[in-house]
Symmetry: C2
Subunit: 544 residues, 2 copies
């Protein structure tokens, strides 16, 4: 039997993972990678950090080179080569060399499409300005580093993960940074209130944030670009970085008659098979099953890409014995200066938009034992289904340990755990690492209290406007971070001062962190009051 | 109806949690805490760190005071008061004041026993020496701090969690520390090979480690204590700290006819009920269901104690609507200088002793993206059932991110996840926080490769002694950390040099981290060799 010829279009993340796994499964297979760029398997998530100098050595970003792939994995690697057509019936890929323009054809037994997604560059007036850049690969990175040498100010358009990482790194380089985001918040994947600490952190580091404003076009001001915003504002900068999203590079697939999803992603099944036999797709170009909302979703993240590549290789060499890819829940995180924020699973806004029933709590907790030096507050928002009580999603923000809590809840979602399971998660506790009751347990406590009617949650201070608000903090804490319109009765005095409250109206309790306000509400409820707790305390509700 | 009277014996951890939860559930209940010591609800896990000065302020350790419990929770708190008898038929507790010796009786509707466990102090000759101390509470801590003022050297007897934490802190204070452990390893909860990095770290910090040696008795040398070891060695020190384990304080329960387990713990059901009606037990004094091995196990840890206290209160006030405590899997962690090690679920030695079928892999991975500054290697050992492929336990050791991986796997155990689920856990990835393929995913990859026969694991270099060992590292790496008896063929040259190997004998492959040795074994196996991979690479197998 002739050895199988596996052809992979795109040699980064998903493509590189597929090639490596394929070689592990078959020493005899002929494996060819076709890569348009000069580089393969580079650390695309690291690009902002080399621009900012945090990753000093550019060489660190080259996880593999064409030579190392040849010598370690016996791959044929065609760099600077573009795949320009796929003929599924003839099982052939048409290629063109980007160095000499020569064209040719490669036959395949199986084909994996891993072309990725390209940064959006909408056809706005003036978009062709040479100082309006995007960041996708090492060449883009080198160009940006080169341009930054002569630049004092940068406008970052788009407040997603890459926009925030770049804004941070540019500030570290001493640049004056303005960030423009069309939505009224950065990180639109997260719920608005969860990114407020990020926005405050960015402002305190000197970043000018322009939210809820879009781009109408670009101008040239003496060689420098300027962005014309919809609001009328004109934003001049030495360099403009566009990071407003990506578009799957599915043109080749479309031309070959391969089925695409509604947003241009290649449609695949659990084994990453496209609608055309012997053609697979992995990474940012494809959709994957959505374990929470059902249907399919395009998720452009490194982890899923790598594991999808592995899945495709498994199916090619192992057939139906291969484990299918279970879908992506979109776990992601970003660091912005001293703070981190992230999400796993569904956000409240997505649940609301999809009409999925959910309940929600937001709690604060310490990153490790609060009596041990260095503990930082984590704000954790938990969403679950009131029907089967399974966890639907979580978001966290804080200065330490955010990644750990997201990973625990990502694992809980994969395991279909319920809010009761969170109560009794047994997480590692020693003072430098955790707490006897971790904030994840606390979220479980709060969620089960909501289910049982013991905690009547109020998500936002705004929902209590005009109502009877009871602030149970010590007066010193109130003075530092007042809650407008609230009556202050410190918790230890509450039982003796119940008469000061109007028992005919609901009482909305608030405190610093959202814990003693719950205690107060329990006292009130046990005395017959309609008591409701404002979640997350002044820490979460009031600007700080 | 008369309000319920809940009496709680022991006001730390489990007892304090029970009281707080009880008050949340009932404003009218009469709740009394009886505490032998002068303090309630203190941070017992923080005691070593105040001795070492890392927690500067002693006040940080007092999570609550008798006064704060009275004012916040309306509790009756009897400190310096000993419970000296329980009469379950009369529902009464007999108490004695430790200040004036006066005795009295308290009636209860429900009783929670949370007396904890006391440090073992075996009746060895010379044990009464005033400079042989144990550490359980704030009074012990104060006494040790006092004694340390005049002491240059300390012998720590016992290499469990507290022994290691104390040894670390004593070194930070500039003391000369010797640690004696009866077992041939520190942290006997973990498998021996997983604590080698801890032992090396301790030695490099100047701690003298005496392993596999026990105490025969103690002597007095001019006012200073000395430990006589079974080996004959006599160990002189300014102070001797005994941390050889704890014994549940179940005497009161035993006298009251309450059923105990084989090791003296109070036997309880899922709602923490003892064998006697209206008497509950929580924390270190009780057993809890063992979710992995079945039966019951006594686990002395802060997290379980807190949540058991909450469970008992729930059952007292909510009855069978309360969620039962699901048992403890023993998740625990310790920091020793720059390194951390921990466990969740079953160890290999416990599985072996219990005759439970298991498979195992050990892998290395980076704490976050290896191309981003500060990444540290984590060694992760995973144990699973070959029958249902569920995860049975894990251990991890490293300089960063150990707690996160333990917590993820603790959650996976709670969710009954399998090795296939680990492959596709979607953990948060940005360069400062994680990797596209986290070490937890890698453990899943390795485990599924073992299941499918693609990875033939060799747990220990010793198992390869006298066999054909192939080291596939670059020669420079071999020179730094040689593997005795190995032939060196760097991986990129392997395909061309297969002829140098004896295909009639098994080949045991090794590399630096355990990854490329697997790649090499795949090449060999695909060429018909009997190839086996030595797990964890030279990093894990050879002293470093």
């Amino acid at each position: 039997m002739q050895p199988k010829h596996l052809v992979i279009i795109g040699g980064v993340a998903g493509g590189a993972s597929a090639a490596a796994r394929a070689r592990r499964l078959s020493e005899s297979a002929h494996i060819t990678i076709i890569e348009r760029g000069p580089d393969v398997s580079f650390a695309n998530c690291g690009l902002p950090y080399h621009i900012g100098g945090e990753i000093e050595d550019r060489g660190e970003l080259a996880l593999q080179t064409p030579e190392s792939l040849r010598s370690l994995l016996n791959l044929e690697v065609l760099t600077s080569t573009e795949a320009i057509g796929v003929d599924p019936s003839g099982k052939k890929v048409r290629i063109r060399s980007l160095t000499d323009g020569e064209e040719g054809e490669i036959s395949y037994d199986d084909l994996i499409l891993s072309p990725g997604a390209s940064p959006l560059r909408p056809p706005l007036p003036g978009i062709a300005h040479p100082r309006i850049v995007t960041l996708r690969n090492l060449e883009d990175m080198d160009r940006i580093i080169d341009l930054l040498g002569t630049v004092e100010s940068v406008a970052v358009i788009g407040g997603g993960f890459i926009g925030l990482e770049m804004a941070e790194q540019l500030v570290e380089l001493g640049k004056k940074v303005t960030l423009v985001e069309l939505q009224s918040q950065v990180l639109p994947q997260l719920d608005a209130e969860m990114v407020l600490p990020l926005q405050r952190e960015m402002a305190s580091e000197g970043i000018e944030l322009i939210l809820g404003d879009g781009i109408e076009g670009f101008e040239d001001h003496d060689g420098k670009p300027a962005a014309k915003l919809k609001s009328g504002q004109v934003l001049q900068a030495g360099l403009i970085l566009l990071s407003i999203g990506v578009r799957p590079e599915s043109g080749l697939a479309k031309d070959a008659g391969i089925e695409l999803g509604p947003r241009g992603h290649i449609r695949v099944d659990g084994w990453q098979r496209t609608s055309v036999e012997h053609v697979y797709a992995v990474g940012d170009v494809c959709e994957s099953p959505d374990p929470i909302f059902g249907g399919h979703v395009g998720i452009a993240l490194g982890g899923p890409a790598n594991r999808q590549g592995r899945t495709a290789a498994d199916h090619i060499f192992l057939g139906e014995a291969a484990q299918p890819y279970p879908g992506s829940i979109g776990t992601s995180i970003v660091r912005v200066f001293g703070i981190a924020a992230g999400i796993t699973g569904a956000s409240e806004k997505r649940l609301k938009a999809a009409g999925v029933a959910y309940d929600s709590v937001t709690v604060n907790g310490a990153s490790h034992a609060s009596y041990f030096p260095g503990a930082e507050t984590i704000t954790l928002k938990l969403l679950w289904s009131p029907e089967d009580e399974r966890i639907l999603g979580a978001q966290a923000v804080g200065r330490d340990g955010v990644d750990k809590r997201l990973d625990v809840i990502a694992t809980a979602i994969r395991g279909k755990l319920t809010i009761d399971d969170l109560v009794h998660l047994e997480l590692s506790y020693a003072p430098p690492f955790g707490s006897a009751k971790d904030v994840v347990n606390t979220a479980g406590f709060a969620a089960t209290n909501v289910r049982e009617g013991r905690l009547v949650p109020v998500a936002s201070l705004a929902d209590a406007a005009g109502e009877q608000i009871l602030d149970v903090r010590p007066p010193a804490a109130v003075a530092k971070l007042p809650v407008p319109g609230a009556v202050n009765i410190p918790l230890p005095e509450l039982r003796a001062r119940l008469g000061e409250l109007d028992s005919s109206r609901p009482v909305f309790t608030i405190c610093q962190m959202g814990k003693t306000s719950y205690f107060a509400a329990r006292i009130l409820a046990n005395h017959g009051f309609d008591a409701r707790s404002i979640l997350g305390g002044a820490w979460h509700q009031a600007p700080r």
